[in-house]
């Protein structure tokens, strides 16, 4: 049981290049999330999805796009990378909860380290 798998684990980009981070989960979770982690800033939510075909903005969505075409996959795209997007990106997933709006335990991937030169 792999849990949450992120690819690639490491990537170096030049300013202006584009790329896509892939997150896959095998737990049949409804909810998926993309966070970024920067030194001294903790984790900040970029985008999230509460179901296949739906996405929503988090705290820091600018410069990123996401898609959830399949329930098990959540893609994070950078159309024109900037040095400010140098960060470690974490994908997470969680089950649908019985209580509307209640967020349960998150399962995280191991992270994707992105450097933009």
């Amino acid at each position: 049981n792999a849990g949450v798998t992120q690819t690639p684990k490491f990537r170096v980009l030049k300013t202006g290049q584009s790329m896509t981070l892939l997150c896959a989960q095998d737990m049949n979770h409804e909810y998926m999330y993309w966070y970024r982690q920067d030194p001294g800033m903790g984790l900040r939510l970029i985008h999230y999805s509460v179901g296949e075909g739906t996405t929503a903005k988090g705290e820091v969505p600018d410069g990123y796009n996401v898609s959830r075409l399949k329930k098990q996959n959540f893609l994070l795209g950078l159309e024109s990378a900037a040095p400010s997007q140098t960060s470690v990106y974490f994908c997470a997933s969680s089950r649908r909860t019985l209580t509307s709006g209640f967020t349960g335990e998150l399962f995280f991937g191991e992270g994707s380290r992105l450097t933009v030169l």
């Binding site: 903790g42 900040r44 939510l45 709006g101 967020t103 995280f108």
Partner: protein, 114 residues
């Protein structure tokens, strides 16, 4: 903006001692969760405490929640070198815009010296 803020930012203790970390938050919550992150790894869920609970235990972990003070504490008893990690609190804001989201604090870096 950060909802939860951990205190202290860093903590160094000897193996066998207890470690206490605190978390303060700003708005009403559904639940508060604690996570651990080993260096270079993803976060791992430790414990979830609901807004109507005051204390919860899991092995050597004890979490308390005081909704009147908007604060929580994580106690790790009889610490081990393997407990060396960063610890984060995360809150599930209620109601409205915070739903379906966990907001994380900046974390406490715990070092347990053998």
């Amino acid at each position: 903006s950060q909802q939860g803020e951990e205190d202290p930012q860093a903590l160094s203790i000897q193996e066998g001692e207890n470690a206490t970390m605190n978390c303060s938050y700003k708005t009403s919550i559904n639940n508060l969760q604690w996570y651990r992150q080993n260096s270079g790894r993803g976060l791992v869920h430790l414990i979830l405490i609901r807004s109507n609970e005051r204390e919860k235990h899991s092995g050597r972990l004890r979490v308390t929640l005081d909704t009147s003070k908007k604060s929580s504490s994580l106690l790790i008893t009889a610490s081990r070198a393997a407990d060396t990690a960063s610890y984060f609190c995360a809150t599930d804001a209620f109601p409205g815009a915070g739903s379906y989201q966990l907001t994380f604090g900046k974390g406490t870096k715990l070092s347990v010296i053998p």
